[in-house]
C-alpha cells in the first residue's frame, strides 16, 4: 500500500520512482578464523573501559577484521545491545531485561535466562555515543555500499555524500560500474562529482559543477557554497567557473524555494487534516444536534487510549493493532457517547446552553477517570513501520508518511460521514429530529433512538480521530483539552451544521497557519489566525458556508 502511494505521489510530482527491485549484491563470506574472534572478543572487552575516542579507533579495528561476526557486532554496538557480565567480563547480547528474555554470549555458546530488570545490576553496558555511532555508520556504509541490499546501498550512498572524502575515487568508479539501481547510481555519481570539485584541474571541476546542476541533496549545496568561497571572481581564469557555480547555486536555490512552497502547503494540509479529524465528530454532536459538547475532547482521548489498549493486547503487530483500533475506538467512544446521551443529554433537549454545563461536568469526570485508571502520565503508542519516516518526492523535498495517511484518513472519514448524513434515511432522521423533535416523532421517527445513535456516531468519530492523534501527540488525560477549542473554532468557522464547511474551514485554517508560521513564528501565526477568524466572521456572520434565507432565520 505504501509503495503504491509513494508511486502515485512520485508520479504526481514528476519525479523518478523510488522503488526498484531489491537485488542483493553479496560477496562470499570471509573465512572465519578462530583467531579473529578471539581478537574481537579482546577488543570488545577493552571497549568497556575505553573512552569514546578510543572506541572510535576500536570500531575501525573491528571493521577491518575479517571475522564473519564483525557486521553483527557493529550492529549490536549501534543498537546498544552489547553488555559485559560484571562477574567474568564475558560479552553478552541483551535486547531486553524483562523477565523471560535471554542473554546470549556471542563468543561462547552460553545463553542465560534473565529474571527481570534487577539483573541490570549484573551487567554493564558497552556504551556508545553519537560519535561512535557515526563512526560505525560510516564503516557500515563502506561495507554496505558493496554488499548491501538496494535500500542499504541507497542510504550508504547518501552517507557517502556527506563524507565523500572517506572513499577513494577509483573505488567509486568501480562501484558505479557495478551499480544497477538508478537512484544509487545517481547518488554515487554526485559523490564522484563532489570529489572532482576538489580536483586541481579546472576542466574537471567545471565538469563536476555541471554534474551537480539541479541536484537538491543538501551536501551538494554546501559543497558548492564552499567551492564558491574558494574562488576569486576578479581572477580572469576563474570567472567562468565562478559564474557557473553561482548559476548552479541559483538554480538549486530556485528549486528549493519551490520545494519550500510545496512543503508549506503539505504542512498546512496535514495540520488541516488534524483539525478536521478533531472537529468532524463535533460537527455532528454540536453542528447537527446542537449540543455544546465540552466532552468532545474526552471522546477523542478515549479513542487514543483505546488505541493504546489495543496495542497492549497485540504488542507484536503494531500495524494490525492500529487498524483494529479504528473500529474499536469508534465503538468505545461511541458507546460512551450513547450512555452519555441516554443518561444526561436527553433531558436537556430544548435547553442547549445547559448541555454546556452538563458536558463540561462529564468532561471533568472522564479526565479524572482516565487519570485514575491509567495514571497521569502519557502512554506510549507505537507507530507502525509503514507510517514512520518520509518519502522523497525529490532530494530536496521529503514528506512524512504519517501525515499523508492522516490527510487521506481524514478525508475518508469525512466522506463516509457525509454519505451517512446526506444519503441514508438515518441521516435524514438525524437532521429531522434535531430540527423539530415532536414533529419528527409524529413522522414515525423514534427520536430517542435516533438521538442516542447520532450522539454515538459523533462521539465514535471523535474516537476515531483519537486513533489518528495518538500517532502525533501525547496520549494522556489532557489530550482532549488540547483539541476542544480548535474543534469548536473549525466547526463554527465553517458554518454550523455544514460538513463541507467544516472541511474547508479546517484546511484553510491549517494552511493559513502554516503560511503565517515561517513569516511570523508559531506564536504570532496562531494569534494571526485567531484574529483572522474574528475578522472573517464579521464578513460572514454565519461562517464560511452559511445557510441563507428564511430557513435559518425562522
Amino acid at each position: 500500500m505504501r509503495g503504491v502511494l509513494g508511486f502515485l505521489l512520485c508520479a504526481l510530482f514528476f519525479s523518478p520512482a523510488l522503488m526498484t527491485s531489491e537485488s542483493i549484491a553479496s560477496e562470499p563470506p570471509a573465512a572465519a578464523a578462530a583467531d579473529d574472534d578471539v581478537a574481537l572478543q579482546g577488543i570488545v572487552q577493552q571497549m568497556a573501559q575505553s573512552s569514546f575516542e578510543e572506541k572510535i579507533t576500536q570500531v575501525a579495528e573491528i571493521a577491518s577484521s575479517s571475522s564473519a561476526m564483525k557486521l553483527s557486532l557493529l550492529q549490536w554496538l549501534t543498537d546498544n545491545q552489547l553488555y559485559l557480565r560484571k562477574s567474568d567480563q564475558q560479552p553478552f547480547v541483551i535486547t531486553d531485561f524483562k523477565a523471560g528474555a535471554s542473554a546470549h554470549a556471542p563468543f561462547s555458546t552460553e545463553v542465560v535466562q534473565l529474571q527481570g530488570r534487577r539483573d541490570k545490576r549484573q551487567y554493564s553496558k558497552i556504551r556508545v555515543n553519537n560519535s561512535v555511532r557515526a563512526a560505525i555508520r560510516s564503516e557500515l556504509a563502506l561495507i554496505h555500499i558493496r554488499i548491501g541490499t538496494a535500500q542499504q546501498r541507497s542510504s550508504a550512498a547518501q552517507q557517502l555524500l556527506k563524507d565523500h572524502a572517506d572513499i577513494a575515487t577509483n573505488k567509486i568508479a568501480q562501484l558505479l560500474q557495478q551499480e544497477k539501481d538508478p537512484q544509487v547510481h545517481e547518488v554515487l555519481q554526485l559523490v564522484l562529482a563532489m570529489q572532482q570539485l576538489e580536483s586541481s584541474e579546472q576542466a574537471q571541476r567545471l565538469q563536476a559543477i555541471e554534474a551537480l546542476q539541479r541536484s537538491l541533496y543538501p551536501p551538494v549545496k554546501v559543497a558548492l557554497l564552499q567551492h564558491l568561497k574558494g574562488l576569486d571572481p576578479s581572477d580572469v581564469r576563474q570567472t567562468q567557473e565562478y559564474q557557473l557555480t553561482q548559476k548552479t547555486l541559483a538554480s538549486i536555490e530556485q528549486l528549493n524555494r519551490l520545494n519550500g512552497y510545496a512543503q508549506d502547503l503539505y504542512f498546512g494540509l496535514s495540520l488541516g487534516a488534524v483539525l478536521l479529524l478533531a472537529a468532524i465528530g463535533l460537527a455532528i454532536t454540536f453542528g447537527v444536534m446542537g449540543v455544546i459538547n465540552m466532552a468532545h475532547g474526552e471522546m477523542i482521548m478515549l479513542g487514543a487510549y483505546t488505541t493504546y489498549m489495543v496495542q497492549q493486547l497485540l504488542p507484536d503487530s503494531i500495524g494490525v493493532s492500529l487498524i483494529v483500533s479504528i473500529p474499536a475506538a469508534f465503538l468505545v467512544s461511541g458507546l460512551v457517547g450513547v450512555v452519555m446521551e441516554r443518561s444526561v443529554i436527553r433531558h436537556l433537549y430544548g435547553r442547549p446552553l445547559e448541555t454546556l454545563l452538563a458536558t463540561f461536568g462529564i468532561s471533568l469526570i472522564l479526565q479524572q477517570a482516565v487519570r485514575s485508571i491509567f495514571g497521569p502520565l502519557n502512554r506510549e503508542v507505537a507507530t507502525p513501520e509503514w507510517m514512520a519516516g518520509t518519502f522523497m518526492l525529490n532530494p530536496g523535498l521529503e514528506l512524512t508518511w504519517n501525515r499523508l495517511y492522516i490527510i487521506i484518513f481524514s478525508l475518508l472519514v469525512l466522506a463516509m460521514l457525509a454519505l451517512i448524513v446526506k444519503r441514508t434515511l438515518f441521516g435524514l432522521q438525524m437532521r429531522a429530529v434535531t430540527m423539530n423533535r415532536p414533529m419528527a416523532s409524529s413522522m414515525g421517527i423514534k427520536t430517542g433512538w435516533v438521538d442516542a445513535l447520532t450522539f454515538g456516531l459523533g462521539s465514535g468519530i471523535a474516537g476515531v480521530a483519537g486513533v489518528a492523534l495518538s500517532q502525533l501527540t501525547n496520549v494522556g488525560p489532557n489530550l482532549g483539552q488540547a483539541y476542544i477549542i480548535d474543534s469548536f473554532m473549525v466547526v463554527v468557522f465553517g458554518g454550523v451544521g455544514n460538513l463541507w464547511g467544516t472541511l474547508v474551514a479546517a484546511m484553510s485554517l491549517g494552511v493559513a497557519n502554516k503560511l503565517f508560521e515561517p513569516l511570523a513564528g508559531a506564536v504570532l501565526a496562531k494569534i494571526l489566525v485567531l484574529v483572522f477568524i474574528i475578522l472573517f466572521i464579521q464578513k460572514r456572520p454565519r461562517g464560511l458556508f452559511a445557510l441563507k434565507g428564511r430557513a435559518v432565520e425562522g
Binding site: 437532521r431 419528527a440 416523532s441 413522522m443 414515525g444 434565507g549 435559518v552
Partner: protein, 232 residues
C-alpha cells in the same frame, strides 16, 4: 374509531382541557370548533402524542394511546398536520416528504405521485428548503407530508390557514375523497365555518377547555348555539 374519554390536559400548572370527550369515526370528518384559545390545538396535540394528558383516555381502534409516543402513534396510522405547519425548515421539500418513510415498511417507501397532483407546487420546489417556502406552500407541504404516512386517522389543525382559495377548494375535495374512501377517520380543527360546515359529518365545539356543544355536521350551519359560541 377514535374515542376520547374525560380528558384533562394541563400546561404545567394551568389546565387547558377539562373533561373532554369526543369521538371520530372512520369514514367521517369530525370537526372541532371554538374560538381562539379554547383548547383545540391542545386537544389535537394530546391526540398526536405531543402532550400527555393529566388523566382521561384516548382509544384508537380499541387500543389505549395514552402513554404511547408520537412515533408509535404515527406507525399505528395517526398523521398530524399541526397548526403553524412545523415543517423541517432546513430539509428540502423532498427530504421533508421522505421523513414519512420512517413510519412505513421498506416496500412502501416512495413518494406517492398523488401528492404532487394535489400540490403541484411541491414538485416544482422539490430541492428548495422547506423553510424558504412561502407560508401557504409550507402548509401544503405539511399536509402532503401527513398524507404520505398513509394514515388511518388524519388530524388536521386549521389546514386551510394561509392557503389560497383555489387550493382550499382542492383540499376540500381531497378530504371528501379520503372520507369517501371510507378507510380513514378525519379530525379537523377549523375556524372557517363555511369550510367546516361543508365537510363536517360530526362536530364538537369547545369553550374554555370544555365541550359545550356537539352534533352531526348538517346541524352546524343552522345551529344558533354554534353561531353564538363561535362569535365574540
Amino acid at each position: 374509531m377514535l374515542k376520547v374519554n374525560h380528558l384533562n390536559v394541563a400546561y404545567g400548572a394551568s389546565q387547558a382541557l377539562y373533561d373532554v370527550s369526543m369521538q371520530a369515526e372512520i369514514g367521517k370528518v369530525t370537526c372541532v370548533l371554538g374560538r381562539n384559545g379554547v383548547g383545540k390545538t391542545t386537544l389535537m396535540k394530546a391526540l398526536a402524542g405531543h402532550l400527555q394528558p393529566v388523566n382521561g383516555q384516548i382509544r384508537w381502534r380499541d387500543q389505549l394511546l395514552v402513554g404511547q409516543s408520537a412515533a408509535q402513534r404515527a406507525k399505528a396510522g395517526i398523521a398530524y398536520v399541526p397548526q403553524g405547519r412545523d415543517i423541517f425548515a432546513q430539509l428540502t421539500v423532498e427530504e421533508n416528504l421522505q421523513t414519512a418513510f420512517s413510519a412505513l415498511p421498506r416496500g412502501q417507501r416512495r413518494i406517492d405521485p398523488e401528492v404532487f397532483a394535489l400540490f403541484p407546487v411541491l414538485q416544482q420546489m422539490l430541492k428548495r428548503r422547506g423553510g424558504d417556502l412561502s407560508g401557504g406552500q409550507q402548509q401544503q407541504l405539511a399536509i402532503a407530508r401527513a398524507l404520505l404516512l398513509r394514515p388511518k386517522l388524519l388530524i388536521l389543525d386549521e389546514p386551510t390557514e394561509g392557503i389560497q382559495p383555489s387550493i382550499i377548494k382542492d383540499i376540500q375535495a381531497v378530504i371528501e375523497l379520503l372520507r369517501d374512501r371510507g378507510q380513514m377517520a378525519i379530525v379537523l380543527v377549523e375556524q372557517y365555518l363555511e369550510f367546516a360546515a361543508e365537510l363536517a359529518d360530526d362536530f364538537i365545539i369547545l369553550e374554555r377547555g370544555r365541550v359545550v356543544a356537539e352534533g352531526p355536521g348538517h346541524e352546524l350551519k343552522q345551529s344558533e348555539q354554534a353561531r353564538t359560541l363561535l362569535a365574540i
